[in-house]
Symmetry: C2
Subunit: 199 residues, 2 copies
C-alpha cells in the first residue's frame, strides 16, 4: 500500500494555498492520500534569519506572480487585506481535527485556505476558524475550545520543530516517501516521482 504524501504548509503561504487546491487529484491518480502538516513559517524564518519580502523588487514581483500563478492554474485568489500576517489558529485546528478524522481535516484545510485566499475572511480570528470548521462538520464549540488548549498549542510548536528537523524551510514543502519537493511549481515533478519512483 502506498504511503501518504506529507504536505507541509503555512496558511499564510500563497503558494501553499495554490498547491493545496491542486495536490489531491494528483495524489489520487497514484493511489495516495495527502497528510496535511501545517507549521509556523514565521518560526522557521526566525530560526534561519530569512525575510522573503525584504527585497523591494522581489516583493513587487511576488505579489504579481502570486495572482498570475493562481490564474494560470484556475485557482480563485484575491490578495487578502491582512497579508502577510500570522495565521496560527487554523494551523492548530488542523492537528486537532486530524486526530479525530483525517478526511474532515482535509476538507477543513481546503475550506480554510479558500476562506482566506479567495473569500477575504479573517482567518487569524479563532471565531472565523471555528465557523469554517463547523461548516465542514466539526463540532464548533469543541474546536473553538481546543484552539485555546495549551496541549493543542504545544502540538503545533512541536510539529514546527519536527518540520525544521526534517529540512522544511518554506511552504509548500512536499515529501513523497522521503523525497523533498519545495514549491507549488514542483507538482509536475511530484507527480512523476510518484509514477516512476525517481529518475
Amino acid at each position: 500500500m502506498a504511503k501518504d504524501i506529507d504536505f507541509y504548509f503555512d496558511f499564510s503561504s500563497p503558494y501553499g494555498y495554490i498547491a493545496s487546491q491542486l495536490i489531491e487529484p494528483v495524489a489520487a491518480r497514484h493511489g495516495r492520500t495527502v497528510r496535511w502538516r501545517p507549521f509556523l513559517i514565521g518560526a522557521v524564518y526566525k530560526a534561519t534569519n530569512y525575510q522573503p519580502l525584504e527585497i523591494g523588487a522581489k516583493k513587487d514581483y511576488l505579489f504579481r506572480d502570486i495572482v498570475r500563478h493562481a490564474r494560470f492554474h484556475g485557482v480563485p485568489l484575491a490578495m487578502p487585506a491582512g497579508f502577510p500576517e500570522g495565521l496560527i489558529a487554523p494551523a492548530r485546528a488542523v492537528y486537532w481535527i486530524a486526530d479525530r478524522d483525517g478526511a474532515t481535516a482535509s476538507a477543513f484545510v481546503t475550506a480554510a485556505y479558500r476562506a482566506y485566499w479567495a473569500d477575504g475572511r479573517r482567518l487569524a480570528d479563532p471565531e472565523v476558524v471555528a465557523d469554517v470548521a463547523a461548516a465542514v462538520g466539526v463540532n464548533r464549540a469543541a474546536v473553538r475550545a481546543a484552539l485555546d488548549d495549551p496541549e493543542v498549542k504545544d502540538r503545533l510548536r512541536r510539529e514546527t520543530e519536527a518540520a525544521m528537523v526534517r529540512g522544511v524551510f518554506g511552504s509548500p514543502f512536499i515529501f513523497v516517501d522521503d523525497e523533498p519537493f519545495w514549491g507549488s511549481d514542483r507538482l509536475p515533478q511530484v507527480e512523476k516521482w510518484m509514477a516512476t519512483g525517481g529518475w
Copy 2:
C-alpha cells in the same frame, strides 16, 4: 513583428543554465528570438543583502533539486567543482560577441553554459572563455583581448545596473514584452504568455 524575449542570467546560476537549454525552442514556436542579457548576480545579491545559500537546509535541498531538475528536463548537468563562484569573463564576452553577431552570441551562451555545467570546464578562466568562443567561430585573439578591455568591463557593470533598475533580482529572469518571469519553472507560463498575451 514580435519582439525578442529578454533572458537575464548569470553563468553561475544552475537554473539559468537549465532554462538556457530549453528556452530557444519555446521562443521559436512563437516566432521570437532570445536576447541574452548576462548580469552579475553577486552584485545584485550584495545590493539586496541576500545570500541564497546561507540556510543549511535550503542549501542541501537546492543542491539536490538542481541535479534532479536538470534530469527531469533531460539537460546534462554535473555539479562543477568550483560552484558557487563568480563567472565574470563569459558574461563580458556575451555583450562583446552580441554587438558583432547575435546568432554567434546565442551559440556562445549555450556552449559556455554547457562547458561549465556539463563538461567541468573552468569558465572563470578567460583563456577557457576564449577557447569556447573560438569553438563557435569567434576570433580567439580578439575576444581574449576584449575580456581585459575597460570598455567591455564597464559595459557589464552598466548592464547589471540596468537589470536591477528593471527589477531583476535572480537568475534566470525572463521578460516577455514587459511581463517579468523569474525562474526556470516559469517556462510553461512564459510560453502561455507568448501564445495568449496574458491571462
